[in-house]
Assembly symmetry: C2
Homo-oligomer: 226 residues x 2
């Protein structure tokens, strides 16, 4: 296998059969030594973080497979912190898709004139560009279309898949009495055909989860669920 790309929390290798291997690392994003899933910098290493992230990702991707939701997931070896995935084509230089059930974080910072902290949101979907230099700006369906990043039909599919997947994750967390406030997903185009599939991972670092109003740290969430 051939090394392709070093990510912040995962390394990517190309396999001979056309698929890819993702190696989950113990590096976690954060600043000043504090774990912050929303940060764009790698702040520290936590032993076992890679395997914990992969364990939760595998847990959710297996559920999505059973529900017929398209993802890039093929198989995982948790002891080696490795996941085998299908090839995917990125949208532009990468998008993040956020689904919100409660008004917190950047949503509240932007729309605090109209929303109260913690107010219920109805699976609200928004897309941000992956662009560290410009603080990952939110972008509308029209702008994504006009800039050639995503067609309007793809946007409709992206939004619908995001609400389905987020709903499934929310439902799974609810079984353990955990509330999902928001979740960040990534999608790609399938190598063949024009369909869209979920890529990357679904782990504690992708979501804000609370129990009885108390925020659950990503690694703790992974222990509570798997």
């Amino acid at each position: 296998m051939e090394f392709v790309y070093e990510g912040k929390t995962k390394d990517v290798y190309a396999l001979e059969d056309g698929n890819y291997l993702l190696k989950f690392k113990d590096d976690v994003t954060g600043e000043d030594g504090v774990f912050d899933p929303g940060a764009n910098t790698v702040g520290l290493q936590i032993e076992g973080a890679g395997k914990a992230g992969l364990r939760l990702t595998t847990y959710f991707f297996e559920i999505l497979k059973d529900r017929g939701i398209p993802t890039h997931y093929i198989d995982a070896n948790i002891d080696e912190a490795e996941m085998i995935v299908k090839p995917a084509k990125m949208f532009g230089k990468g998008l993040e898709v956020i689904c919100r059930y409660k008004a917190v974080g950047s949503f509240l910072r932007r729309y605090g004139m109209y929303a109260k902290e913690g107010q219920e949101l109805d699976a609200f979907v928004e897309v941000t560009l992956k662009d560290d230099d410009r603080q990952d700006p939110p972008i509308s369906a029209d702008a994504l279309h006009m800039l050639g990043i995503l067609s309007l039909d793809e946007y409709v599919e992206l939004k619908s898949l995001t609400q389905k997947i987020s709903g499934i994750v929310k439902e799974e967390l609810a079984k353990k009495g955990i509330d999902l406030y928001d979740i960040k997903l990534e999608f790609g185009r399938m190598d063949e055909g024009n369909g869209i599939m979920l890529i990357d991972e679904i782990s504690g670092g992708n979501m804000r989860a609370y129990k009885n109003g108390v925020y659950i740290e990503p690694l703790k969430l992974e222990k509570m669920l798997s």
Copy 2:
């Protein structure tokens, strides 16, 4: 008539017949004594700025009336810097609607990874909240709907009216060899019925206009057109 509200560049009075009188002032927005139409603070006074703004506004609103575009405009007295308008209901605490033909300004600051400075944009419409404390954040149709500011049907109408009106302004400027890069409009709900109409003004301070690649100052633009 009764004083209602002191705006940055206009004062508002209620008339006995239910309509309103807008008094255009010589105050212009800007910072550190420099005229900047995009600024949220009133920086200086320029003699004749109020009348010049009203003259251009009247010029465009009369054209829009002829084209059957709904606006709040009834009549104007340029010597007194006064415009009589219909009553309108605001969307939330106020929105601005921007139509872009060239990638400049905040569009470029946000989407510079995908757009080059001055790149053609196809009458791209975006909405921002009027919220000085939060730097007038852009907001999507879905968020406007979810926060109860605008229905999805109203958004469709708003976007369509914005493109029509901006197209007319662009066409008028083009007759004098002037290029419209972008324009900012405001809309309100009509007092009776559910329709949407253009409110506020259309003057140099609402748009970025260029001639042979050189930016035209708002007051100069008003002289060139009227």
